[in-house]
Amino acid sequence: MSNSVISVISRFLEEYTTSTPNKLKVVDAYLLYILLTGAFQFLYCLLVGTFPFNSFLSGFISCVGSFILAVCLRIQINPQNKGEFLTVSPERAFADFLFAHTVLHLVVVNFIG
């Protein structure tokens, strides 16, 4: 059983490194970074306590929001999905990504206190 899991994972990793374009790998690295940041914040909250709660919330939601927006960007610039996003060019996706981030950061900084 574990054997098949390991083989699936190694196959997946191999496919990933070969067939994903570089652009997407860049975005994936960014996604990993956001994930780790959010995880560390949550860990702190579990260990030390929720004071100040508003700061924790804003930081965590910033991570979650950024993750979601990056995932959106990744979906939109993936050339394999081009058929579903005929009206949205990669540049347009990137511009949307930046605008949404501006709004997100405004709200986060407001709430961080």
Binding site: V26, L32, L36, F40, F51, P90, F94
Partner: protein, 643 residues
């Protein structure tokens, strides 16, 4: 705790119950009238003050002192070219009997006066009023119909209360043949504008002076035309309450307006408010059996022609009717009734009094609370010491008021001390149950006193028993000689009683050392309360916070590492101006976020964000468009190459 038996008497005039109309709650007493006269008779320095003073005093029915000097003052201060001055002079001189204005300057120009009548569209209501009044008081002819139309035109322009009041006053000088009907209707309109305050007062929001002027103007016009003013009885009383609610007046004109209103209410053809007050407190007793009432008009003049009748007099306690349809007799302007002749028991009685004799009377049904007081006498005061187990016979001592028992009584824990007595009305012998019957024991050495209540049984016999053992807590178990007092008091008693009857020696078991009783001082500073500020939340240690901060920032380094490993396209950085501007703008926006966190508020941030954001957007748009073009060209190139 000694109560005065004959307390200050109760309210004489109370608001009526049920179907009875309102009665005045404020009126001018003789001392108020004297004060009003003093205000009005102050020395004056100008013509207006002279007018207010002279005419005001005449309204109160007083003759002006120094009438010759007053007349000379008026004549010397008169300015014949000013209508206002003429008005003051004319009315003031008219009230002084010996003063005649006609032999001064304007007899020469009566026609000029008429032509000078400022009846154009621009003249204010007060100018019209002064001109018309001046002509009227000087006895000169008036064009009444012209004045009426001028007044009507002016009322529509100047809609305020004072202007319409002046119009009413002006109309009262005009000929009765003129059409004053519309002006008369203004009284009703103005009355609708009055504010009802608590059902007691009726006044204009402009204040007391305007209300008083309205009263005098309304009655002046109504008397002149012969039509009853459309004011209900209650409204008249409420107006009266408002006008006379203030007993000290700020200005001469305010005092003048009150005097005018008083004169109007005291003597007009339609409404005459009546003021009823008892002479002294409304209390009768055997020594003072007469209930005396003063019936006056607003200017404190006695209405000697009135008939005063008690419609009903009922006991407040038993609700039995004592008197019905009994008239008061009049003597020297005071109406009196011998109430004690009906032999009422002591207590309070509700009188319903009606004044008649003049069809104009207003507020002539009065409710009065009368107190009948009496003297109490204490009978059959028996003091005894009773053994608890009743084995030894009781020793009863009778004490007569106001003597003290010759020997003192001794009671220890095996004995009770008992007292019994009766309280009766001195003159009729009827048993009484006053509100306060207390037994007081006073320890002269320590100053301690203990008070008990003596209660009557079903036969109105008062009994009191002191169980030494049971009550030792109240005495703090302090044995010794106590002086025994009886205290009797009630509002209807003329002779409250504080009677030292005897001395008692009380012996308590388990005696403690007697400590001097200090009176409890309630007015010492209390212990200070230290304010506790809100404790700041407990924070984790700085080391821990710093560790975690480093931990949270560490993935960024990982990201840079990964990007480097992936060979992110830093070399493809085009240095076109739009690209540079875009990156600078973007960096500026992130910097703005930091500044927002530390210093700014949302509004300022949005302002800066709008500026930077729009620049960044434009630059970014261009940059991305260029990139898109490059990509498209590249893909085209690839396609061409593949063909």
């Amino acid at each position: 705790l000694l109560l005065v038996g004959s307390l200050v008497s109760l309210v004489v005039l109370v608001l009526a119950l049920g179907a009875h109309a309102l009665t005045p709650s404020h009126h001018l007493t003789p001392s108020d009238l004297v004060r009003l006269q003093d205000v009005l008779s102050q020395p004056y320095t100008d013509l207006k003050a002279a007018y207010l003073s002279i005419v005001g005093q005449s309204k109160l029915g007083l003759s002006v002192a120094g009438s010759n000097e007053a007349c000379d003052f008026i004549k010397s201060n008169l300015d014949p070219s000013s209508v206002e001055s003429l008005f003051y002079a004319a009315e003031a001189s008219q009230t002084i009997a010996s003063c005649c204005m006609m032999n001064t300057n304007f007899k020469q120009t009566p026609n000029k006066k008429n032509k000078q009548l400022p009846l154009n569209e621009d003249s204010t209501m007060s100018q019209i009023h002064q001109a018309v009044s001046a002509l009227s008081f000087l006895g000169l002819p008036l064009a009444s119909q012209e004045v009426v139309s001028a007044l009507k035109a002016r009322i529509s322009k100047e809609d305020n209360v004072l202007a319409i009041t002046l119009a009413l006053q002006t109309a009262s000088h005009l000929s009765q043949q003129a059409e004053l009907g519309e002006i008369l209707e203004e009284i009703e309109d103005l009355a609708a504008r009055l504010d009802d305050l608590g059902g007691v007062y009726l006044q204009f929001e402009e204040g007391l002076e305007v209300t008083a002027l309205f009263v005098s103007a309304a009655y002046a016009l109504s008397d002149h035309v012969g039509v009853e003013p459309p004011l209900k009885e209650d409204q008249v009383i409420q107006l009266l309450n408002s006008v006379f609610s203030k007993k000290s007046w700020d200005s001469l004109s305010e005092a003048f307006s009150v005097a005018s209103a008083a004169a109007a209410l005291a003597d007009n053809r339609f409404h005459k408010p009546v003021i009823v007050s008892a002479v002294g407190p409304a209390t009768v007793s055997h020594s003072q059996p007469l209930l005396q009432l003063q019936v006056m008009d607003v200017l404190c003049q006695s209405l000697s022609s009135a008939n005063v009748l008690v419609e009903t007099a009922t006991s407040a306690a038993t609700k039995a009717t004592i008197l019905s349809q009994t008239p008061f007799t009049q003597r020297d302007g005071i109406f009196q009734l011998n109430f004690m002749a009906s032999q009422p028991a002591s207590g309070y009685y509700q009188f319903s009094v009606a004044i008649s004799g003049d069809s104009r009377l207003v507020g002539n049904h009065i409710e009065l609370k009368v107190k009948v007081s009496t003297k109490v006498s204490i009978n059959n005061m028996d003091l005894s010491v009773v053994d608890k187990d009743q084995s030894i016979g009781t020793k009863t001592t009778r004490v007569e008021y106001p003597n003290k028992a010759k020997s003192s009584f001794i009671a220890d824990s095996h004995q009770n001390f008992a007292m019994s007595f009766q309280l009766v009305d001195e003159s009729t012998g009827v048993e009484l149950t006053p509100h306060q019957t207390f037994v007081r024991l006073h320890n002269q050495k320590t100053g301690q006193e203990v008070v008990f209540v003596a209660e009557p049984d079903s036969k109105n016999l008062y009994k009191f028993e002191l169980d030494t053992a049971e009550r030792k807590a109240e005495f703090d178990s302090i044995s010794g000689t106590y002086a025994l007092y009886l205290m009797v008091g009630d509002a209807t008693l003329e002779n409250p009683v504080l009677w030292n009857m005897a001395d008692i020696v009380l012996k308590f078991p388990d005696e403690e050392a007697p400590s001097a009783i200090q009176s409890k001082n309630l007015y010492v500073p209390k212990p200070e309360i230290q304010h506790l500020f809100r404790e700041p939340e407990r924070r984790p240690p700085t080391v821990l916070s710093n560790t975690f901060t480093a931990m949270v920032l560490s993935p960024f380094l990982l990201l840079l590492l990964l990007w480097f490993k992936l060979g992110a396209n830093v070399s493809n950085f085009s240095l076109s101006p739009s690209s540079v501007l875009f990156h600078v703008g973007h960096a500026a926006m992130l910097g703005l976020m930091y500044v927002y966190w530390t210093q700014l508020n949302m509004f300022q941030t949005l302002k800066y964000l709008a500026i930077i954001g729009s620049l960044t957007f434009l630059a970014g748009n261009r940059m991305l468009a260029q990139k898109a073009v490059k990509r498209y060209c590249a893909s085209l190139y690839v396609q061409l190459a593949l063909q």
